[in-house]
């Protein structure tokens, strides 16, 4: 999970590393994600969002599709490290 200066930089990095290009997220969207995930994290009752909550959070921000589905099997099993192209 990394920052990039522009889409051109993301594409250049994917080309150089062989990792696939994934959906791009704007900084204002990332802030909303950070708030949803962490704004109560210092409270004892806090907990990570569960899969259904994750889908709702992503959906509210327009982040939809298999990539954002926490229970999707569209990308197969494996070690969580995508195969380089």
């Amino acid at each position: 999970m990394l920052f990039f200066r522009s889409e051109e930089r993301v594409r250049g990095w994917c080309s150089a590393t062989g990792y696939p290009l994934r959906p791009l997220v704007r900084i204002d969207q990332l802030w909303q994600l950070a708030r949803e995930w962490y704004s109560t994290r210092l409270q004892p009752e806090s907990r990570r969002p569960q899969p259904a909550e994750m889908r709702q959070i992503f959906g509210r921000l327009g982040l939809v599709g298999d990539f954002w589905d926490p229970q999707s099997d569209a990308f197969g099993g494996g070690a969580g490290r995508p195969t380089r192209g």
Binding site: M1, F4, G12, W37
Partner: protein
């Protein structure tokens, strides 16, 4: 407060106050529990994905959004310096602290530095982008890589 919740609270209070990870001994002392019991609590918190531990089974690598080790994502707030696990967590720290911060990171391709002011209302206008290569369903298969 039961020991597991007390430990979680103490771990996050330590990170928020000092920016660094607490040891199992420090949390045991803070909560008033024996160290072996606290090691077991740390293990359970790992199973619940509250913590990520080092290979020694007790040193905290991650208490998201906080990192227990230095990373390329640093957050400064009120004279305290924090490390985040990733770009998402770099904004997660200001969200958790709910105070003005400055996020220091970089473009992974060009290595151009990013310095982003984040108020309690959110970051200043910024046209940088966030990119993650791992699908959400696989984030915890290898959370350190993610």
């Amino acid at each position: 407060m039961e020991p597991e919740r007390a430990a979680k609270r103490a771990i996050y209070q330590h990170f928020a106050s000092l920016g660094s990870r607490p040891s199992v001994h420090e949390i045991a002392a803070r909560v008033g529990a024996p160290v072996p019991e606290m090691r077991e609590i740390f293990r359970r918190l790992r199973e619940q994905r509250v913590l990520v531990l080092e290979a020694d089974g007790e040193s905290i690598r991650m208490a998201p959004p906080f990192s227990g080790i230095p990373t390329q994502h640093r957050v400064a707030a009120a004279g305290v310096s924090y490390y985040a696990n990733c770009a998402w967590d770099a904004l997660g720290i200001p969200a958790a602290l709910q105070r003005p911060t400055t996020v220091h990171s970089r473009c992974e391709q060009s290595l151009e530095p990013l310095e982003l002011e984040v108020s309690t209302d959110g970051p200043e206008p910024c046209d940088w982008l966030f990119h993650c290569v791992v699908p959400a369903a696989q984030w915890w298969d290898d959370i350190v890589f993610t």
